[in-house]
């Protein structure tokens, strides 16, 4: 499972880096989304990888090793929400720039 997760994160982040270095805003935003998926999975994995373990513990008298770490799940949730909002914001910006400059180049003008 470790290999699969590592490959998924690596491939997504790598593709994201390639895309955000491209000159079109659409490529940039696609790259940003791929990278944020990769980061979210990465945060999730930092709570260690578990299978079939509940994150919520009963009140007392339990062995913590039997339960998944709930904190990264909370972190991921926050990161997803914030990432979603900023992506939406960039999308608005991108459409505005396209309308005003008539170009979808990240510099706001076609390269001469």
């Amino acid at each position: 499972m470790e290999i699969v997760i590592a490959l998924a994160v690596g491939v997504m982040f790598g593709s994201g880096i390639w895309l955000i270095l491209r000159p079109r805003t659409f490529q940039f935003i696609a790259g940003m989304m791929l990278m944020s998926y990769a980061v979210n999975i990465f945060i999730f994995a930092m709570g260690r990888l578990w299978v079939d373990m509940p994150p919520i513990t009963p009140a007392a008298g339990v062995d913590p090793a039997q339960y998944a770490d709930p904190l990264p799940q909370g972190l991921v949730l926050t990161a997803i929400v914030i990432g979603f909002a900023t992506t939406a914001l960039y999308l608005v910006m991108m459409i505005g720039a396209r309308g005003l400059t008539g170009s979808d180049h990240v510099d706001g003008e076609e390269p001469r």
């Binding site: 709570g47 400059t101 706001g108």
Partner: protein, 544 residues
């Protein structure tokens, strides 16, 4: 019932007040801009008062070790989020509130009417800034950074025109990427240490195994990349001059503060986690910070010489001031910190005043400018509102010239103002801390001092050239029209720089106590982790 003393709640006010006022302002119609302005101003005045109160509390005997802790939602640290105010945080809060007040008064004349929701975004920006100064949790720091950045995206685009859109595209893009780095850094630190509370990290960093320590170093380096992108360290700061030059004047003044947040975050995390108490990890990465800072300094100085218009020059000036701070902190750590913080205060105030001033000097129209204005009108470029009409203040040219000279003196570090005091004390502290018993000073210290002197020289040449071109060679016949509400904030900021110079002794005493407190990182852990949650009255039997 063991209620919390009400003074303790003051710690949350710098976060909650702008949030509430900003939200309240959204449904208010844009036509009622006086109401919006009054609400926004009231909030900023209150913020300033609270910031000063927190500074007095932190500096007084009210809290043990001068550290106030507020447990959000009454969860004990490290499980919940702890807000913490100490002398450094209080100082940054006061600086933020002061500049915010000046900027808000400045924008009242016309800038707050060029676009919608200026005041809401301004309040959210303040919320993000204040939160970033107060929080003691890395993930919470991320949240406040995002709040601050989201508000700044809107503000950079305020007065929507082609130039701002082009700059905004790059500004937003680089910050989105930096936010991802922030998350990766935070996740790695959590993976290595199992905590994100900064005070808890201080304790755990000494108990790490070799593998986890390595992971922590990787995480902290990635986190530093995110901070230093905001702090505009070379080569992460190429976005800055374009963004500053194209943002509207009040926004540019607030952006000056935002570069300081990056430096503040580095300082906060590094002093706590990689301080003297960290054992083998102590001082990790400082050498890289020093080299990066020096490169930033050189880059900023060259940029200042190369830039033609005031906005870009001020942007490079901000890079120089960031670079100076990072280089001296990286080079000598705690020994030069008091001087470094003094430099931060002086340069931030002067830079903010300079940003506002540039907009005013642009009204000194050279004779050919009228033609240009007509051309711009033909292309329907509406990047700024109409110049104010009505009676301006007398002697506007003399006022602009004097303020310009004062700002230039502080930015370039020439006597007699705060910039000189700051640079002098930095040199003194660098030489005093670097000299070994034999009295010889290492070459890197000399390189750093030489760079700072050269950067000062470059700054004075560039600013003098700009001043001569603006005030003497422009050939302006009619003095520009300035309103009192525009001149007042600039005057206030310049006078604060003068006050900082006159009261340098008192300020240095305060900064000395700040640095003294910061160097005892164990105090922070004891205070933050030891803060007891408020106990609830036990529920009566059977009530459950």
């Amino acid at each position: 019932m063991n209620a919390l003393p009400w003074l303790q709640h003051l710690i949350t006010v710098p976060v909650l007040l702008p949030l509430l006022v900003g939200a309240l302002l959204i449904p208010v119609n844009q036509n009622r801009h006086t109401l919006k302005f009054v609400l926004s101003l009231t909030s900023s005045v209150l913020l300033w008062l609270v910031a000063v109160a927190l500074l007095l509390l932190a500096d007084g005997e009210h809290w043990t070790d001068g550290i106030g802790v507020y447990l959000a939602s009454n969860w004990a640290a490290p499980f919940g989020i702890a807000l913490m105010v100490d002398r450094l945080a209080a100082l940054m809060l006061v600086l933020t509130a002061t500049i915010a007040l000046a900027v808000l008064v400045f924008s009242a004349q016309r800038w707050d009417r060029v676009g919608v929701s200026f005041h809401s975004m301004f309040q959210f920006l303040l919320m993000g800034l204040n939160g970033a100064f107060l929080t003691n949790d890395l993930f919470n720091l991320f949240v406040f950074f995002e709040v601050m950045l989201a508000a700044s995206y809107g503000l950079v685009l305020h007065g929507y025109n082609l130039r701002r859109i082009r700059a905004g595209m790059q500004y937003i893009a680089i910050n989105l990427a930096a936010s991802l780095l922030f998350l990766i850094g935070v996740a790695l630190i959590y993976g290595a240490t199992g905590t994100l509370n900064i005070a808890d990290l201080t304790l755990r960093v000494t108990q790490l195994g070799a593998q986890d320590a390595w992971l922590l170093q990787v995480g902290a380096s990635i986190l530093a990349l995110a901070f230093l992108t905001k702090g505009a360290m070379w080569p992460l700061g190429f976005w800055l001059p374009t963004t500053y030059a194209s943002a509207s004047a009040p926004v540019a003044a607030m952006l000056v503060l935002m570069t300081k947040v990056g430096v503040y975050a580095v300082l906060r995390v590094w002093l706590a986690v990689f301080g003297d108490a960290a054992g083998a990890l102590g001082g990790f990465g400082l050498a890289a910070l020093s080299v990066g800072g020096m490169a930033t300094l050189a880059f900023g100085a060259i940029g200042m010489l190369a830039s033609q218009d005031g906005g870009r020059m001020a942007g490079y000036g901000a890079i120089v001031s960031s670079g100076t701070l990072l280089a001296v902190i990286g080079h000598s750590g705690g020994a030069v910190l008091a001087s470094g913080l003094y430099y931060l205060l002086g340069s931030t105030l002067a830079m903010a005043a300079f940003m506002l001033l540039i907009e005013l000097t642009e009204r000194i129209r050279p004779p050919g400018a009228a033609l240009l204005a007509i051309t711009m009108e033909a292309f329907a470029i509406e990047d700024k509102p109409e110049d104010p009409v009505g009676v301006g203040i007398p002697g506007s040219l003399a006022f602009l010239g004097l303020s310009f000279a004062a700002c230039a003196l502080v930015i370039s570090g020439m006597p007699p103002l705060a910039g000189f005091v700051a640079k002098f004390s930095l040199f003194h502290a660098l030489l005093a801390s670097a000299a070994d018993p034999a009295g010889s000073v290492p070459a890197s210290t000399w390189v750093l001092i030489a760079l700072m002197v050269t950067a000062g020289l470059a700054a004075i040449i560039a600013l003098m050239r700009l001043g001569v071109r603006t005030f003497w060679a422009a050939g302006a016949i009619t003095p520009p029209r300035l309103q009192a509400s525009e001149a007042l904030p600039v005057t206030a900021l310049v006078l604060l720089c003068v006050l900082l110079t006159v009261q340098a002794g008192a300020v240095f005493d305060y900064l000395g106590r700040t640095v003294d407190g910061l160097s005892r990182s164990a105090d922070y852990s004891a205070r933050v982790l030891g803060e007891p949650p408020v106990l609830r009255v036990p529920a009566a039997e059977g009530a459950r």
